[in-house]
Symmetry: C2
Subunit: 247 residues, 2 copies
DNA sequence: CGCGGTGTTGAAGGCATTCAATTGTTGTGG
DNA sequence: CCACAACAATTGAATGCCTTCAACACCGCG
């Protein structure tokens, strides 16, 4: 195997010679609208970064130094009230894009929920590219509109669903996203890329309530626990009905 | 008084000769980035529409026919679960922009919370303009990013705040927005542009709970009720602390 | 083995909901 | 101008869901 066989995931943090050719998310990330030539531009400014689960990627109110594609792992965006209460306001899976254009400071706390690999673009240079390649900017605009839609969907969950529906909905969402990442690979189980505490912070619940709903869903045979972080979902339809999407 | 004294608000619904010169939100809406010449383009496709409180502006899953600036009044965006539970996912005040670019169907239910006047642009023609005038598109992108920020802020409220904080936060938000619309005019009171039921749907509460929190805030002298839809806020700082933003 | 982190379970209590009744407001027709 | 209906808002009492606080189980690791 040549050295080019190694994936983006395995490459070094500060390896400046990154090869989008071997990038797993090349054809699904915002990069997909770029021509080979344009991709070369991007290649020159890109830098891979790795984070361990729990690492802070960007603090709130901290200057934004880079944008990034999520190459692997899951990233959480959190907001914290003065008294310490916190709420996760967004989860990013591969090949999501991380970063708010045209803002100098982050309005959220950004952390690695799992081990994470990012494909980073320096702030200023990336914004320059946005102006140079209108279809890249357009793509980013569409991605933002989708994020807005997702946020509003989540507002319904936070405001109007009960604990069981919330947990079911989260599992349903993770299952769908996992299917996308796996690109059709049927694993037979779903990995939960976060702790119960993270789930609670995403759902506006307490850890205890999340845990209780897990055991309840388990006893109803809607899910099966393989281990703490892996579940099996016998019937997605049933799960989606439990999540409040039934008729 | 010449006929040009009449405001946009008073103009007829299907008056094709609209004069942005007299538009109240000319210098605060997304139009503000447009030159006089570009504004002429817009003038040729614009159409004023009026809605009464409670009117449906656009149903969910309905094809999007137009974008619009909110000229006056308040617009609510709602999402509804199959069983009827509903959640307001966004409020639009003047000079907010209404409409999701690059979507053919609305993902939300759009209704007039109060009597509303819209400055409408036909779907296709407006998207053409977006491509013709990059800075208009850019402005819209920024507006979308702000909406996303606002949505996330609201997720914290929905997930982590109690009833008193929720109501206080809503009043605080309305007070701030009203101050912007009033352009510095100190009225001495704040108009509540929605029913208790709307407030409940925005806060993820029931009408009864909202009502109870009103009487509670009133007895704590944090607000004073002038009538059902007008309140006085003696001290904004106190209100913001009650809303959970204290230290 | 013991330790910290993570997850589960139990019991008690509180906050928001639910259901029900009353009051207040608005607009329409007699 | 008043009566009345329809709607909006408030208030009360009881229920229930989720939280809180506490204890215990599980797992990886030094």
């Amino acid at each position: 195997m040549s050295k080019y066989e190694k994936t983006l995931a395995e490459s070094e943090t500060n390896d400046s010679r990154v090869h989008c050719d071997h990038c797993k998310i090349r054809h699904s990330s915002i990069c997909k609208v770029l021509s080979d030539e344009e991709l070369n531009h991007l290649n020159q400014i890109v830098q891979t970064k790795k984070f361990k689960a729990g690492d802070v990627i960007l603090s709130e109110e901290q200057p934004i130094e880079f944008f990034a594609n999520i190459a692997s792992g899951v990233v959480k965006m959190t907001k914290i009230l003065p008294d310490g209460r916190q709420q996760i306001v967004g989860l990013l899976f591969p090949p999501d894009f991380l970063g708010q254009a045209y803002k100098n400071y982050s309005s959220v706390f950004i952390e690695a929920a799992t081990d994470v690999e990012l494909c980073c673009f320096p702030h200023v240079k990336f914004e320059e590219m946005l102006e140079k390649f209108p279809h890249l900017k357009h793509k980013l605009f569409e991605a933002t509109l989708n994020e807005l839609d997702a946020a509003r969907e989540w507002m319904v969950l936070l405001g109007r669903k009960n604990a069981e529906e919330k947990v079911a909905d989260l599992l349903f969402m993770i299952a769908k996203r996992s299917a996308l990442i796996g690109c059709g690979t049927i694993k037979g189980f779903v990995e939960l890329p976060m702790t119960r505490s993270d789930m609670a912070d995403y759902l506006g619940l307490t850890v205890e309530t999340v845990s209780r709903q897990f055991t309840s869903l388990k006893s109803k045979k809607i899910i099966t626990l393989i281990d703490n972080n892996h579940i099996d979902i016998p019937d997605l339809e049933t799960l989606s009905e439990t999540a409040g999407y039934g008729y």
